[in-house]
Amino acid sequence: MDESAPKPLLELRGLSMAFGGLTVIDDLDLVVNEHEIVSVIGPNGAGKTTLFNLITGLYRPEKGQILLGGESLVGLQPHTITNRGVARTFQTLRLFLNMSVIENVMASQYGKTKVDIVRSMLRTPGWRKEERQIRSRAEEKLSFFGQRLMGYRWSQPAYSLSYANRRRLEIARAMATEPRILLLDEPAAGMNPVETHEITELIAQLRDKGGYTILVIEHDMHVVEGISDRVVALDHGIKIAEGSFEHVATDPKVVEAYLGTKATVTK
């Protein structure tokens, strides 16, 4: 990786979002550079998931700009944004439960493929070629997880997977949309310590081997410490700290956001 000046991939400028009178994201600026892993932390209700929903187009911001590689994403349909190169996972797993594991990963390649339904019904050579590509790409993404999502599991329905494997499958499914930036919403939630350690290594590999830029929401501070190039702390939709993990973790505002106001109250 070259050490020249970092190129910004995702830029948020003055982003604001309110539900009714409640401001969830308030004038937020954030830059994610290429090949960078940025973690977003903050207490519950800080606006982290809303931030993801804004970037992926599920919500429309009231003010501000979202730029991916210099192009605005505001007002685009979610599937168009995904085609531009943004993919995400969900905190509350949203797999296609009644489809097989490999079909989950094949389905998310819709935007990257072209063969229409008429050619599919006739099984033209073009369909055959593309279908092979879809399948091999799906297998490639699943093989990223080693033995976890291999072999006999491919044809099993997604609902038969364990919780941790579902999280892995969500990541594989997001990877199959061939994104430039991956948004991971609490990838380690509900995992045991061993699995948490694994996912930490995996996220680093996603960047190093997969070449993705990653924006991740995480509560587990070991994971955050292990993966982040940079950490951004949010509270009530406002960026309260940004920088290296050590810097953010010791920031008095962050401590206050997590643990409440100064000791004078509880003394």
């Binding site: 599937h79 390649q109 339904i117 099984r123 949309t177």
Partner: protein, 494 residues
């Protein structure tokens, strides 16, 4: 409590490489109960079906179906063959909309009606147009598809039940338009458009029942293959993905609205095709044919066969159409009606577990019947038990209480029938609210009352009975196999 993975054995997984057997991830309890279940005849049959390649299944079905005209007469071929194929083809279309894309489209039948009327306008004396089928059928499909697109467009904003209501409204609006509005006698009003041309392809007329049957068989087989391929393609995966979770599908690069409209268009075009063919073989397009009863039949077919299953549609269409035809008033096999009815009841009872209970229930019902029969005969007199059942077979009157028809008026015992009917409803409610052996006990009089209701009134009214029977069939199916006969079990929340 934290998340419990279903396999506690697997918790330290990073170091231990998983053993390479086929049973990984299945714990012993699940494995045992599966092994127990896998020995039942139904499971063995199911496995055999699963192992058969789909192409073989289709060939077997088409082979069997193409032999039918050789061993049936024209009349039977029409009502049991042609209609079954037509229902199956309609079911295939509905299966795309409801089964794959998950759109609860109750306006589906209006698309078939559109196809029928389009064919009728273009190939009848109404405007003096006698276009050949190679032109009219594609146009009928296109018109129906346009309607489908219009309805699909509504699905952009309307989800689930709301979509169902709007499409049902549309179906009613279609009926009203063709039946009552009828601008400039365009649709012929309640009489419809008669004297349609037979289907004519490039000068070749399909007039005999056999020709139409084979034509439909080819259409259906081609459609089944095409839809099977569509399901296993990118579009099919997109349909199923957005059915599972529209939001996740949208974020995973699937244009959900476009994909939904495509499904609606597809289903509607198939419905239009069937409508045109039905109009042509009936020789008329009559709006009342395309109402809610027909819609219920097609839904029953798809639900019975299992949503999303192509083979299920064939099975469902066969069962539903045969039931319908045997119960039809003009049917000349009245005894079949009875066997069908008792067969359904026995199947229903057999679904009770453990196995000892249905045996007890059936034996007790037989005994109960003789006892009641004897008591009624002894206390109220012979006239109450010496009636002749309408559907033939006097032997049943020795067991079931069938009052003689009034010698003066020639009518049945209205009061007796009403009492039986009310008693049956009460008995069903009581059975449903009891538990354990009490329920088994309550089932005995319920079954007997069902028999009385059937022998005294329902057997004469095939039209109503068919729908009651469908209802009972579907309720039984929901209890026994919620995914339908050949559908695959779906998990909503895990």
């Amino acid at each position: 409590m934290s998340e419990t993975p279903e396999t506690p054995k697997k918790t330290p997984p990073a170091e231990t490489p998983e053993p390479q057997t086929s049973r990984i991830g299945v714990d012993s309890w699940v494995a045992e109960s599966e092994a127990r279940r896998s020995r039942t005849p139904a499971a063995v049959l199911g496995r055999g079906l699963e192992r058969t390649p789909d192409a073989v299944k289709l060939l077997a079905f088409v082979g069997l179906a193409s032999s039918v005209p050789f061993w049936t007469n024209e009349g039977d071929l029409y009502i049991f063959g042609t209609l079954t194929l037509l229902y199956a083809t309609l079911g295939l279309g509905l299966n795309v909309v409801v089964g794959l894309a998950g759109l609860l489209d109750l306006g589906y039948i209006a698309s078939a009606g559109m196809g029928a009327y389009t064919y009728a306008e273009l190939s009848s004396p109404r405007f003096g147009l006698h276009w050949p089928a190679e032109a009219t059928i594609p146009i009928a499909m296109a018109v129906a598809a346009l309607v489908g697109a219009f309805l699909g467009f509504a699905s952009r904003r309307l989800l689930g039940d709301y979509y169902a209501i709007v499409t049902l409204f549309f179906a009613q609006a279609f009926l009203f338009f063709t039946n009552t509005t009828n601008p400039g006698n365009f649709t012929g009003g309640p009489n419809g458009l008669p004297q349609l041309d037979p289907i004519t392809f490039f000068g070749y007329k399909l007039t005999s029942t056999k020709q139409i049957y084979y034509f439909l068989l080819i259409v259906m087989a081609l459609l089944a293959v095409a839809l099977y391929f569509a399901n296993k393609s990118r579009t099919g995966r997109a349909w199923r993905a957005q059915r599972e979770d529209p939001l996740a599908a949208e974020v995973m690069s699937i244009p959900v609205n476009r994909v939904k409209i495509l499904a609606a268009v597809f289903g509607a075009a198939i419905a239009g095709l069937c409508g045109a063919i039905l109009a042509a073989i009936e020789g008329a397009a009559v709006s009342s044919d395309y109402g809610v009863p027909f819609l219920i039949i097609i839904y029953a077919i798809v639900i019975l066969g299992g949503f999303g299953s192509i083979a299920g549609v064939f099975v469902g269409a066969t069962i539903i159409n045969f039931t319908l035809q045997f119960l039809a008033p003009q049917n000349d096999h009245p005894e079949v009606k009875r066997w069908l009815f008792y067969g359904t009841i026995v199947l229903f009872v057999m679904a009770i577990k453990p196995v000892i209970r249905p045996a007890v229930v059936l034996a007790a019902t037989v005994g109960f019947g003789f006892a009641v029969h004897a008591i009624v005969a002894a206390t109220w007199g012979h006239a109450w038990t010496s009636g002749v059942p309408d559907s033939g077979g006097a032997w049943i009157a020795r067991w079931a209480v069938i009052p003689r028809l009034d010698p003066v008026t020639g009518l049945g015992h209205g009061n007796f029938n009403n009492c039986v009917y009310i008693g049956l409803v009460v008995a069903i409610v009581a059975t449903a609210s009891l538990k354990g052996w009490w329920r088994v006990a309550a089932l005995v009089p319920t079954l007997y009352l069902t028999v009385l209701a059937w022998e005294n009134m329902l057997a004469q009214n095939g039209g109503i009975t068919a729908y009651l029977l469908f209802g009972a069939m579907l309720i039984g199916l929901m209890a026994w196999r919620p995914q339908g006969l050949l559908g695959s079990a779906r998990v909503e929340i895990v």
